[in-house]
Symmetry: C2
Subunit: 448 residues, 2 copies
């Protein structure tokens, strides 16, 4: 089918665009490269040396003969967005084109206002453009599990059946987001739900957990297709940060007690979930919500998983607890439902030792690009104005227990398949317990 | 106490500023006169000839020797707003300074985006300014009962206790707003709730019903203090429209079946509720929600009340049903709680024949200013783009059954006390059944 990927130059967007293209869909990317601009603003960069989008698209075309169309522009520009919808005529648009970092939104007032206005206006524009020019188009919107917060009851998928004073209704699940970014997603969800009801639009809100992993089958084809690996305090995710800390001999920095529990998923599941949503569109007027994650972990559990995996590879790892810069419950009940995508065919890639090995080995591979200064939390949720400035870069040796500065024993070159986990999928196993499929490494790439 | 009224030139804001000033509070008004600008844009005006704010403030000072300070500026301008908070140092800010019309927000994309960005950024700015410059200041925010929509269960005041799968929590009441405007208020509520939690701000969200009435004791002192009476399709409220239709012999236009049930309150209760909220501030970190209305009516019930009252005054009145331009349930369950303000001392002014007489008589008094063309609904919720243009003005004679074109028998001049309802409050009656207090007419005003 014809699928537009808005924000297709970002971490999830890029992997999704390639996956959908590989699966035979006609794909276009819309992006304005704002995500790359934020790296410059913050003085940080992805650990992996991502190429300019135009180069990436050429590599993809060279390898697969598949063309991904590129539309450069901003979704907050209605004229541009309308023209895109009329030109490409997508059957589904996957909307990743938002500012997606909670810490970024908490820097100060300007960043909070930017995040909310940018995300809100982009999504409003998209709703109006779909209604005006392509009302059958299915909106697949990236939400976040963070919209729900951490209630003391089970989290359902979007809606909650409530019995109250002898009456009953199915209501939108109450939202308790924990940052101006998460709030922007809640605002979006309400706006989208309204237009489904008022205008009969069809929409799926993918309330995604924290994504881990860098490799998908497609990205693994060539280093020129390499995806982002963000580990800095602003755009980095906790698992990436832990891996970088582990290989540089720095303690894994757990915020507070580390009992913060969240849903997580492998990026290979992100791309599959998006395809599942596209292939099974919401009905006219339906606002459908899927909780898009496969496993729950607490931050401390993740730290211990990384510690164990890194120690097996020869790194000495400590865990330290920092004062939590965020305002969040450090210990809480958490049980979030996530069965709808499984019912539609998702086969989860659960977090495994082999995947952790692969992530750690990416950190090893690009150790020269590690900037330790970028990981220290500088953005305090309790302050309305954080004077965050890029810190002088601080490089670090490898943190091997026995042989500091040396490559862990047995690790080969980039294209060594041991840098990504083994493919060990077993047909017939239960979907949520089955061993997981993992991507191949770049096969003999000449790059990097 | 020192109270700032943001949006103090508008309908509720003006009445509130005068009331608080009369009660001995030190009051300042912040306004940028955008509400008056929208009248020009839409080609409509309030039925009552409101004076420029500077003139109104002079009249107030002349009558009472009380000074209301004026700060002219836009709350979306952070520099201005910060400077205001630092200069005036309010103990409470009452935030009316938002675009408050649902139809206005539904005109087209530009009006939807404007409404949401204007309201969201103004409120975000206020939250940051309070946090930075006056963190003990109590935010009294005008929300709307429309945030809840029309669920099939009782509506509680802000929070809902949920039992689910054997566990229990108190969660924000689920929101199902019915226009881009109502959505903006939901966005605000989520943003405010978060800052109470993250920053310890103190806030009260007044989820207000539909306000009726023009007179308060203060406004009634002089015609130079007269308040807005909006009856047009965009900013007008249904009761005002019905009164104008009744006196001009036009059918009362009920949208759809008229089973749409909402909470209503007298503007004299609005001003008192705001004072009650200010005098009983939320605790540090508390996000408190009061449902601010006193009675529920369906639109059809209101039409019949106006018909009966107008017929007693000699007008012939018909009721007609138009296709509903909004997307809303035309018949539904509705039972919304509203006890918290009563518990804090509110004594409601329930809708009475005498108040209806007073509203109808205002329509008679200013009949020469009535523009019938402004009442026809031109904004269809189902369309993403309504080509609304000001219509040629259309004046109409009075719609008296027996004596067309003549003043109803027995009606005197503007200052005749019969133009407002009688004061018949009886001490000791039950608060929600007691006869209501009503304001005096302008005593012998030389104006108008």
């Amino acid at each position: 089918m014809k699928i537009g990927v808005l924000g297709g130059d970002g971490y999830c967007g890029w992997a999704t665009a390639l996956y959908l293209s590989a699966r035979g869909h006609s794909v276009s990317i819309v992006d304005n490269f704002l995500r790359r601009q934020w790296d410059h603003e913050l003085g940080v960069q992805t650990l992996t040396p991502i190429q300019p989008l135009s180069d990436r698209l050429k590599v993809w075309h060279g390898l697969t003969a598949k063309q991904i169309e590129l539309f450069v522009g901003d979704v907050t520009d209605y004229e541009f967005l309308s023209s895109y919808l009329q030109t490409f005529e997508p059957e589904a648009v996957v909307h990743f084109a938002e500012q997606r970092s909670a810490p970024y939104s908490m820097i100060d007032r300007k960043h909070a206002v930017f995040t909310q206005v940018n995300n809100l206006v982009g999504t409003l524009n998209l709703l109006f453009a779909i209604r005006e020019f392509n009302p059958q188009c299915h909106l697949v919107k990236l939400g976040t599990m963070g919209e729900y917060g951490t209630p003391n009851i089970d989290i359902e998928e979007g809606y909650l059946t409530v019995e109250h004073n002898g009456r009953r209704d199915v209501l939108p699940y109450p939202k308790q987001p924990g940052s101006f970014y998460h709030l922007s997603k809640v605002h979006d969800s309400h706006n989208i739900m309204f237009t489904c009801r008022a205008w009969g639009l069809r929409a799926t809100d993918l309330n995604q957990g924290v994504v881990f992993g860098t490799m998908t089958d497609e990205v693994a084809l060539d280093e020129g297709l390499i995806n982002r690996f963000d580990y800095d305090e602003v755009f980095g995710t906790v698992l990436n940060r832990f891996c970088v800390q582990a290989v540089t001999g720095k303690p894994l920095t757990v915020y507070g007690k580390g009992g913060q529990t969240r849903g997580f998923l492998d990026i290979r599941d992100t791309v599959r979930c998006v395809e599942i949503a596209c292939l099974n569109p919401a009905l006219e007027g339906e606002f459908r919500v899927f909780n898009q994650f496969t496993e729950q972990f607490s931050v401390l559990e993740l730290a211990h998983l990384v510690k164990t995996a890194a120690e097996k590879l020869g790194f000495g790892v400590e865990i330290s607890h920092l004062a939590d810069p965020r305002v969040e419950a450090e210990e809480h009940y958490y049980n979030a439902k996530h069965s709808k995508l499984i019912e539609l065919g998702l086969e989860p890639h659960l977090l495994s030792d082999s995947l952790l090995d692969s992530l750690i080995n990416i950190a090893v591979k690009y150790r020269d690009r590690i900037d330790l200064s970028s990981m220290a939390p500088q953005i305090n949720w309790r302050k309305p104005r954080n004077e965050r400035r890029p810190q002088p870069a601080q490089t670090a040796p490898l943190g091997l227990s026995e042989e500091p500065f040396a490559r862990p024993e047995g690790l080969g070159e980039w294209s060594d398949p041991r840098w990504v986990a083994e493919d060990c999928e077993t047909a017939g196993a239960q979907s949520n317990t089955r061993p997981r499929s993992v991507p191949r490494a770049f096969p003999g790439s000449a790059r990097g």
